[in-house]
């Protein structure tokens, strides 16, 4: 892979599939590492996408993780067929979670997923329709924006 070209792809995610949960983010992390992107940026991107992937696995029926890597940034869009989020502001609060107990017993559902995605990205957008699904977009910059 060449770092000066765009790289894009997608992963299909299946809700409730905890056996493969995180596999997409793991593969994306390998792709980013192979592109010689700095470990700090790879780590931030991996954490943001992993949290997004887990949200789909935990809450949705299915979803798609799309990624685009350019010389300037990493863009990841997670689009799911899930219950949607009635109150996004509340969902963004650290510690707020609607995950069931059996998910918490596996170590998830601490209410840090969306805040973690925001923390580890340079741009964060979320859009949700109750009964239809949620779309989350994160951008992690590879090169600093030089414009004033």
């Amino acid at each position: 892979m060449e770092a000066n070209k765009n790289t894009e792809g997608s992963f299909h995610l299946t809700g409730g599939d905890f056996t493969n949960a995180g596999a997409a983010s793991s593969e994306l992390k390998s792709i980013l590492t192979n592109l010689n992107i700095s470990p700090d940026i790879v780590r931030r991107a991996a954490i943001a996408t992993f949290e997004g992937e887990m949200n789909v696995i935990i809450h949705a029926v299915a979803g798609v993780m799309y990624y685009l890597i350019t010389p300037d940034c990493i863009k990841v869009v997670l689009n799911d067929m899930g219950p949607g989020i009635p109150d996004i502001q509340q969902a963004m609060r650290e510690g707020y979670s609607t995950a069931p107990d059996w998910v918490r017993e596996m170590g998830w559902g601490a209410g840090m997923g969306l805040p973690n995605m925001k923390k580890n990205s340079d741009e964060f957008r979320i859009d949700s329709v109750v009964g239809e699904g949620t779309t989350v977009e994160v951008i992690i910059k590879i090169k600093e924006d030089k414009t004033p």
């Binding site: 905890f18 780590r43 954490i47 949290e51 596996m106 170590g107 840090m112 805040p115």
Partner: protein
């Protein structure tokens, strides 16, 4: 602190050695909440001390750049978790100690927090 020293202090058993036990561990974190690990662990190549032994722990450790995982209370990772750790280069150590005691011993031995908190 080296991984070898960690094992000695915890009277641990190395169930998977993916490299040199002389590898230096810069810091440690202890949690059973995977998102807390992702949120608060700011230093790569750290040590995770946990009471969970499922594959999710290994996957999260990989994403958070964790170098080694200590399982407390003699909780042993299953074959699937060990195989995943082998592929990801994560060393696995089991100790009979509780999480509290394990953390206390490592802290007393000089290992700091992966959150960067002052000792």
């Amino acid at each position: 602190m080296t991984l070898g020293k960690v094992t000695e202090i915890l009277e641990g058993e190395v169930v998977l050695n993916t490299g040199d036990m002389e590898t230096e561990i810069p810091s440690a974190c202890s949690t059973d909440l995977m998102s807390d690990l992702l949120h608060f662990s700011s230093r790569p190549k750290s040590l995770l001390i946990t009471g969970l032994n499922n594959t999710q722990v290994i996957r999260t450790a990989e994403i958070a750049d964790i170098k080694a995982v200590v399982f407390v209370l003699d909780k042993r990772p299953d074959r699937e978790a060990v195989e995943m750790a082998r592929q990801k280069g994560i060393t696995l150590i089991v100790t009979r100690l509780s999480r509290f005691t394990a953390c206390g011993r490592l802290y007393a031995g000089g290992l700091g927090s992966c959150t960067g908190e002052n000792r």
